[in-house]
């Protein structure tokens, strides 16, 4: 050790013992006391809990059926979403709006009678119209303009 060459004689005489002491049996008592006073760690509690719950507590009826209920609800939701989008997209099986469907629609239909007439005139075949009139005993040619 290189330090020893420079160590003054006073340190040689004093030696490496500092002269301090502890009460009799201090370290043994300290170790025992210290081990007892160590607080419980969170992971120790978890570990202990796991040891204690080797036998799982019985589950309630709701706990047993809950996954199936959730699954059924999920499928029902998916089915609804698919069908609603299909119906809205094609207009297929949805009930047709009629004057009885609601006051707003009824008002619109009543108010739009002329619109209906224009539509009919533009789209009816004139010959078909004459045939209907002849069949009912009315001669359209008798009309004077």
């Amino acid at each position: 050790m290189t330090d020893s060459n420079k160590t003054p004689s006073i340190l040689d005489r004093a030696g490496h013992d500092d002269g301090m002491t502890v009460p009799e049996g201090y370290f043994e008592q300290f170790a025992a006391r210290m081990k007892e006073s160590l607080p419980e760690q969170p992971w120790e509690k978890v570990s202990a809990d796991n040891d204690e719950t080797h036998v799982m507590p019985s589950r309630s009826l709701w706990q047993k059926v809950r996954p199936y209920v959730y699954m059924a609800a999920m499928f029902a939701g998916i089915w609804l979403m698919l069908n609603v989008s299909t119906l809205v997209g094609t207009g297929g099986d949805l009930p047709v709006a009629s004057p009885d469907s609601g006051p707003t629609i009824a008002a619109l239909v009543q108010d739009g009678a002329s619109v209906y007439d224009d539509y009919a005139v533009d789209n009816f075949d004139r010959a078909d119209l004459y045939d209907d009139l002849y069949a009912s005993g009315f001669d359209p040619m008798s009309l004077t303009y």
Binding site: G15, D18, M20, V22, P23, F27, A31, P39
Partner: protein
């Protein structure tokens, strides 16, 4: 005398990391390191009662942060760091509590040494303790670790986070000051 070391530090590290054996292994740590840590603390604070309290705090802090100890550092290095930190914090707190200057603090340490009853009665050793009390805090720490514990500079460097060269210089200055203390006393 500490209990015979049945397991080395490496095995102890493994046991500390296993939650099923941590508590038992920490008991082994307490038995193994109580004495070296106690003396390190006692030489800094001088009073047995204070050293006892600080040693308890050291182990409690180590225990509470045991999951942070991953075994990269040596167990003894980690524990010494905690103990030194406890000492320095305590001394700083005492300085503030008593509103002491550095000179006042030296006087307080000397009065603690004089009032200490847990000693073997050797006057030269008591005088050496007083001489060490005249050193600055960090130098005192370095001197104690090197002179009393005969700790290698490499390990001191790990614990204190200071280069070996700086530690050697610090120790050399401490020895010179102690030498001068006794020269002035004569």
């Amino acid at each position: 005398m500490a209990k015979t070391r049945t397991t080395d530090d490496e095995q102890l590290n493994k046991l500390l990391r296993d939650p099923n054996t941590t508590r038992r292994a920490f008991g082994e740590v307490i038995e193994r390191y109580s004495q070296p840590l106690y003396w390190q603390i006692r030489r800094m604070v001088n009073s047995h009662d204070d050293a006892n309290d600080l040693l308890q705090n050291t182990f409690i802090k180590a225990w509470n942060s045991i999951d942070m100890f991953r075994g990269e550092a040596r167990l003894s290095t980690w524990l010494h760091k905690i103990a030194i930190n406890e000492c320095l914090t305590f001394l700083e707190r005492e300085r503030k509590r008593l509103n002491l200057s550095l000179d006042d603090e030296e006087a307080r340490i000397i009065s603690t040494i004089e009032a200490d009853t847990d000693i073997d009665g050797d006057e030269l050793k008591q005088e050496l303790r007083k001489a060490i009390a005249s050193l600055p805090e960090k130098q005192r720490l370095v001197f104690n670790m090197r002179y009393y514990d005969e700790m290698p500079y490499e390990k001191m460097s790990e614990i204190l986070g200071t280069s070996e060269g700086a530690l050697k210089a610090s120790y050399h200055h401490a020895v010179k000051k102690i030498e001068k203390y006794f020269t002035d006393l004569a």
